[in-house]
Symmetry: D3
Amino acid sequence: MSQYDLFTLGETMLRLSPAPNLYLEQAKQLDMNFAGAESNVASSVARLGLRTAWFSSLPNNPLGRACANQLRGHGVDTSMIHWSDEARMGTYYIEYGTPPRGIRVWYDRKNSAASQMTPDMLPLDVLRQSRRFHVTGITPALSDSCYATTQAALSFCQENGITTSFDVNYRSLLWDAPTAAAKLDPFCKQADMVFVALRDAVNLWGMPENIEEARIAAYERWGGCVIVTSGHQGAFASDSGQTPSVGSRPVDIVDRLGAGDAFAAGTLYGLLSGMPLQEAMNYGTGLAALALTTLGDLVYATREELEQVVMGSSGSLRR
Amino acid sequence: MSQYDLFTLGETMLRLSPAPNLYLEQAKQLDMNFAGAESNVASSVARLGLRTAWFSSLPNNPLGRACANQLRGHGVDTSMIHWSDEARMGTYYIEYGTPPRGIRVWYDRKNSAASQMTPDMLPLDVLRQSRRFHVTGITPALSDSCYATTQAALSFCQENGITTSFDVNYRSLLWDAPTAAAKLDPFCKQADMVFVALRDAVNLWGMPENIEEARIAAYERWGGCVIVTSGHQGAFASDSGQTPSVGSRPVDIVDRLGAGDAFAAGTLYGLLSGMPLQEAMNYGTGLAALALTTLGDLVYATREELEQVVMGSSGSLRR
Amino acid sequence: MSQYDLFTLGETMLRLSPAPNLYLEQAKQLDMNFAGAESNVASSVARLGLRTAWFSSLPNNPLGRACANQLRGHGVDTSMIHWSDEARMGTYYIEYGTPPRGIRVWYDRKNSAASQMTPDMLPLDVLRQSRRFHVTGITPALSDSCYATTQAALSFCQENGITTSFDVNYRSLLWDAPTAAAKLDPFCKQADMVFVALRDAVNLWGMPENIEEARIAAYERWGGCVIVTSGHQGAFASDSGQTPSVGSRPVDIVDRLGAGDAFAAGTLYGLLSGMPLQEAMNYGTGLAALALTTLGDLVYATREELEQVVMGSSGSLRR
Amino acid sequence: MSQYDLFTLGETMLRLSPAPNLYLEQAKQLDMNFAGAESNVASSVARLGLRTAWFSSLPNNPLGRACANQLRGHGVDTSMIHWSDEARMGTYYIEYGTPPRGIRVWYDRKNSAASQMTPDMLPLDVLRQSRRFHVTGITPALSDSCYATTQAALSFCQENGITTSFDVNYRSLLWDAPTAAAKLDPFCKQADMVFVALRDAVNLWGMPENIEEARIAAYERWGGCVIVTSGHQGAFASDSGQTPSVGSRPVDIVDRLGAGDAFAAGTLYGLLSGMPLQEAMNYGTGLAALALTTLGDLVYATREELEQVVMGSSGSLRR
Amino acid sequence: MSQYDLFTLGETMLRLSPAPNLYLEQAKQLDMNFAGAESNVASSVARLGLRTAWFSSLPNNPLGRACANQLRGHGVDTSMIHWSDEARMGTYYIEYGTPPRGIRVWYDRKNSAASQMTPDMLPLDVLRQSRRFHVTGITPALSDSCYATTQAALSFCQENGITTSFDVNYRSLLWDAPTAAAKLDPFCKQADMVFVALRDAVNLWGMPENIEEARIAAYERWGGCVIVTSGHQGAFASDSGQTPSVGSRPVDIVDRLGAGDAFAAGTLYGLLSGMPLQEAMNYGTGLAALALTTLGDLVYATREELEQVVMGSSGSLRR
Amino acid sequence: MSQYDLFTLGETMLRLSPAPNLYLEQAKQLDMNFAGAESNVASSVARLGLRTAWFSSLPNNPLGRACANQLRGHGVDTSMIHWSDEARMGTYYIEYGTPPRGIRVWYDRKNSAASQMTPDMLPLDVLRQSRRFHVTGITPALSDSCYATTQAALSFCQENGITTSFDVNYRSLLWDAPTAAAKLDPFCKQADMVFVALRDAVNLWGMPENIEEARIAAYERWGGCVIVTSGHQGAFASDSGQTPSVGSRPVDIVDRLGAGDAFAAGTLYGLLSGMPLQEAMNYGTGLAALALTTLGDLVYATREELEQVVMGSSGSLRR
């Protein structure tokens, strides 16, 4: 039996935020959290009961330790983290506002420990023991060595029969669209499954704005299993001739961030639990709905609560 | 002249809650309050200017004292409370979430001081000096001795000409529906006035889902004065051939809990102040509207503010 | 070159408020801020990059100093403030509630240092060096000596060729409508530009409730440039034969207070920057939209953020 | 039997304070409490189990109501309070600092409701039903009408055989020492018992700095029972030929304010419970010790906890 | 190689506390933590770099999960926890005060999930894979089934060659001294190592008050290795003819609770790392010193920080 | 007349800190402040009533703006700040602990905007208009270009007759002692006045540990006016044959950081106000005493409060 159901790789950052509706410029206190696309997925899948691991490089200081503590608290295995005595913690500041103000983010992530990951740091022994591997397009965008690390991990999985998924997650502050399109394309081809936001499909590869057409274009380009997502329309997949889709759920949005990661986590949880793709995507939109009602990236839901949302029975108070 | 306008009996619990939108599982701080259906009514009616008393058993420790302080601060007479050196404080945890998450409640109320009340603890001398007595279906659900205590209080009132009201308030975590239906039926018959949520009328006694039909069914079953309530539709009463009703008010809901108690409190305040039932129910929906915009069970409104809501003139800022 | 683009005069008060949705009566902590119609305008215009000054009298204690610090922090020149060793800080308490509860305000402003301003305190040397002067109808309402001070400032500007604007801002807790109408009318005539809420135009001078008709009536009464505003309908101006107007913007309202001041600030910023009135009013409604999404009176927006709102491009997260 | 064991009269103010060690000028949040010398005494004595009442005038707004709620919560009867629709809440700001910074206080108490009390407001019916009356030298310092009210209350007690106590409590910000000395002297003579700080005895009436000599001087001047107190030395009394004294207790001081009121409360509690003066003063220093370890004026101790301190057995954790 | 360096067994409770210096009775917010003697030890030893596990029964609700998350976050293996759908979370309330007020604790721990542990729940497979087992005298005091569980675990270790340690930790609120003495005596004899507070040695078994004599008495009674501790005097051991001792360290005490557990953790860490007892006890007093300066039971120190304290070099700021 | 009394140059950082006694690793919230040696001096001197300016480079984002707002709020002229669109905000984390834990600081300051200052950014026009210039040894340690900038500023002052002061302030995390000694020596010689901690004098230049001898050694090495400081012993100067000294003041230390800057600020304030050095140093130790009782680097004292400390009359509460 494999040691892990899901192995992930990426950067987790210190996330500092003033209270909702306050401007960062006026804040006197900041809430302190840790968030990263891949560790969000690992945490959510671990909370739902599967065995997950996360690999990265963290600074060997209280901020790095607090990050590892948080992930470990959710049940993610953090024992293979690379600890750096020199590099810093990637950090970002986030400000919540209602329209016409929007969420605003300021990154201070250059020279982070994670951006200095190299392929030789990869714990291949552990990766070999995993059923699935997941990574996003943020990791290769961090630095050349992170790009090489992502490449090495995906190739290793391919060679060792470990199923891979790749979430495009384009970050315009890290690289421009043409560069990202060129550099991420091979990963999309290589991965067994691709998650891509409709917005990114259009911007990076000029795919159609119609989501049904976009999934065809993506499938034609990358093959395997592709899932195109749109906050308003839901998720549309194409996989070996089947084209399952799920609509988005009605939600009172509290915080948009983390919904994409939650969708990936719910879907991967479903697949790892043996569900067909359609049902797995239902778990994906269910977890995304819970993420949208949660301040911060991480959903503290239990499997039971997720199942109630999936079955549409939540929201009524029992007392 | 009677000493009290309203005498109530029931359990008040410690209510611990994380900040809105946080999961209890992620909380590092909890807000501390005290709430109970009957003491909510007593507090609101006292705040509106009448003389009220509340009887219960509380643990003789800082939690019990803080509970009594809070009620006394609103003007409720707490001098007859039974203090227990052994028993514990009933406690519950409450988590607020927006849809599809809902409000969730975890009770830790077993073996509370209140659940150990017995009929001989009742301060009958004081009860005798009261104009009205109010109790809910939660109190008899706490334990056999609490059932007997409720029974004793209602019978004493009947014998001494004290008007009684009973709010069904079914709690599925305390007993199942058939048991509750059987055990609460006699109290509904005995009380001069019954408040019942449409939902409970349907679930417990199989009354019609149509609220107008439900009030007829309730009146036929219990006689006296019955008021059937529904958050969306308002309140429909039947009393000696008259069938007054009031719609619900437009409200930006902040917290659903406590609205039912506020409706009872407003209605009882109106009746005790000499209003006809229809007008009293208007005070009931007015106070419920204020409760829905208040975090926590208790409404800090003044009579003046309530009257503005009843007359529809509130909401405009005067400066 | 003038030393200041905008010179303002008025009272800034200590503003104490419980957390949103809490009643003041139940609060255990109060947030501490400072706000005043004219200093709000001076702060916003300074934040947008122009040179502004504010004159008032403040108590020579930590509250007065904290007030000056806050304004100075936003870039307002506070060096000419009159410091009073005797008088107190004007104070108000504000409670936020959702409908049918509304915002409620309790003033404790009598005998404040600002209310004891006299014409001889005016720093005429500095005023002479300013391009524009702005004051609201609150200042003359504070006391007879404040009325005289407002009068002296407006006359001095008229004599020295400094453009003036006057925001009616009727405060019913300071004086009754007929008195205010009579006393403010000369200022409206004297000022080069008048901002008046439709509500005040109707209540004080019996102008038509139709906003387009009201601007005609106002222009006929006072001449110059008049701008009639209404939260729902936007702003309608009449100026030398032209009648520019702007609609209100869609906003998720967090706090209504300060929106009028923000409209004046945005408009004055536009005019001082050389924009035509129509475009300046667009900056006015843009800044008002940001103010409506901000807790507290003051908008911490930058010129860049304001320009995004004006051009309708804000709200999308870049990361 | 009398209705109240202790009746008090005086002003209770809103007390706003930043967190310890912060300057008021830098604060963004203020803690909100209510405190007053006489209501502190009434609250403490009520908490210890006796029946107390407090009379004053409060503004009819949320601040006045919150003040009454707090006192009522501790068990003080507040039903006879005079509610003023016009006057304001006396307010003060307090800043804690360690040496060489000290505690600093800024008063904003002019024109408060309490300062407008008049003799005809006194609830003489209730006062007549009380065993003891207590007032401090702050009350007559508030205004001429408060002086007259104090005078009327003390005379009424004298005529009706109600034992009176007077705590000098000189406030240099309200009046100068010679005036206070002249105006308070008659009250000290008239009261059955006088509490006076050694510092006040020296400053106002030129009594000796030696505390043992001061008590002789005070007794010679005023007769009755006098208690001279000094934080470092304890309390020295002279009463009908007896001269009991108690030393101060070792304490880790958290907040000096309120210790004098606690000493008076503990001593009065002891006397009302039938203890000899020496033992009562022991309860006084015990309660003062608890007050010194409490942030804020009010001690939340129970009689049991006080008795442990008096007997020197507290401080050990039982678990 | 064994799977765990240290296996522990016991109850961890929800720990609710107001801010320092506030009375629980006056609190409006409570800090939420989790603490238990054995899990404190497991957490500290895990933080220092060894592999630890903790076994208990927790309620299957957010409180139980948050408890497990916290321990897991520190690196403790919690995978074998028994989850109870019925039982509640043991809870206690703690109030900090400076002398003459002391720390006060109110327990609400009856009927907790942990108190319902039975021997058959023990994960013997895992225990078998551990180098050391540690338990305190609190666990057997919880219930008869917990007593049997403790007994079963100690016997299993004895039979399987796993080194055991037992910390007496008498809790007077759970059982009386004679009962505890009789019931704990066999465990002290059976364990390879006993930690006992001098206070408990005296109260339970009448050992001498002189700590050097007490260690002789304990050694004579129980054999093996005994360590007698006293906050003021340090720790005195007796082990196979050797009698190492360490003094206590100078500390500015912030919170006394948890120091005993930290001493045990530091000592066990030292022994598991191969140090002689004397040096291990130095790590024990070092960790206890850090615990005394930490609010809450758990020390967030790293091995590096602990080593600095042990070597006396900490306290100087490097920047 | 010069435009500024004091011109300073250096880095101000974002300062993030958990509540006192909490470990950074366990924090969930961080307090947000801004601090820097030179801006601390500029702020304090501005608060005391003189005209000061501060030059640096800040990132053009909310953190940079909040930093400028804070300084401007204290009255420091920030109009010449260089705004960087690319570089980041220097940041540090600070954790307070009582012995044997100490204050701990983690810097994350590499690549800050300030570290990228170059000589050509210097606002020489403004510097020319200043009476005094102050800089510390931290600024040249930031980068080569910062070293050159410091050099250029000091030389410009020398050429233009502006009095200069230099505070050694060795930072071991930025460079090693021999490098710092060699690089800072010329600045010490060049400056008209040198502040040096005894600790730095010993470590960097091997001066005697005896403070009286150290001042002789420093004076012989650098000439001009030298002031050697030691927290415990006070400050010892040597200036043109005079050797004034002041002892340290008794203080309940709340936070050691910022005391050195406060000493420099107080001394410079005194000198700029025309006091002899001895008296100026008295203002220095007075302000340092206030800084030691303040959480955070900045003293919010007024000149009046400082004068009370200097004259030894503070600490008594007037009310």
